[in-house]
Symmetry: C2
Subunit: 181 residues, 2 copies
């Protein structure tokens, strides 16, 4: 015990995310993060000078990852006008329960500390801006956005307990909202 090791920042973020999912962000402590990550508290504090910094780092990493995932999926879907939206639906449906829960817990956490809301508001806002509410297609796309993010939160937070099959039907119906889908 007490041996030094090179600290892996991504490993810390993974540990923090897992704990958030397991116990809820309210009970997340830096002590527990350090323990789970297998490092000392001092080492943790050196890499992330405060809990807020840690949470901001998780947000930044996850939003970035999700955007990459969307871009990749959208590219594979092709030139359809609502490719990104279809990619979002696909990504949300395919996500493992654990990943979904981690993302939803993080989102709920951010929502409780207004100073952290910025990045996620921007992500949602940018996407909604693509869909003009004056057009029929835009309205259907916005409705699909609300529905898919609703499914994300309701399922990820464990508020609505449905079977895999039931969720599958819901995602199919969300997809059917998208114009030209």
């Amino acid at each position: 015990m007490g041996r030094k090791r090179t600290i892996d920042r991504d490993g810390i973020l993974d540990a923090a995310e897992e704990l958030t999912r397991e116990q809820g962000a309210a009970h997340l402590s830096l002590d527990a993060v350090a323990r789970r990550a297998g490092i000392s508290k001092g080492g943790l504090m050196y890499n992330f000078p405060s809990k807020d910094a840690l949470i901001a780092a998780i947000t930044e990493r996850d939003l970035g990852r999700f955007e990459s995932l969307l871009a990749e999926k959208a590219e594979r879907i092709g030139e359809k006008p609502y490719a990104t939206l279809l990619a979002r639906i696909e990504a949300t449906e395919e996500e493992s329960p654990e990943t979904l829960a981690k993302g939803a817990c993080l989102t709920a956490t951010l929502a409780q500390t207004p100073e952290h809301l910025g990045p996620i508001q921007k992500a949602y806002g940018d996407e909604m801006l693509r869909y003009a509410p004056e057009t029929d297609g835009g309205r259907r796309a916005r409705l699909a956005m609300i529905a898919v993010e609703g499914a994300f939160l309701l399922r990820g937070l464990g508020l609505m307990e449905l079977s895999e099959d039931e969720w599958r039907l819901i995602f199919a119906d969300i997809r059917a909202l998208v114009p030209d889908a």
Copy 2:
């Protein structure tokens, strides 16, 4: 200072709800609740022996109120098969931003403490059970449920910032999902 007064349990719950909305539930302290309610901490603890008990009481009161509101609205809507669902959409759209935020913050808080999830899971589950996923109408109703609760959370938590007019369009489109609406 120091004069005794009769403690109003509903007043305490109001104070706690307001603080939750203003600062996020993560920063809710019993000290602040007592201060806001204009009573002593001891008096607070006498009425609600723990913070968990306080949160549970808020949940119970709010779920009860909302169910009453739904029942009342559904009755006024009449014998339509999806009257309760329409009532939910109407209630969610009409809710003031403050009330919406209080409800959504509470929901997010419950989601972070698994032991508090029960009542809300039951409320959602009971409603979803009414809509058989084997029927076309049932599927549309379930989709509308996901969408309206998505709107509730996204708007109430401040995750998605849209104008009043933009939300109005979205609620109109959610309503259009309901069979025979």
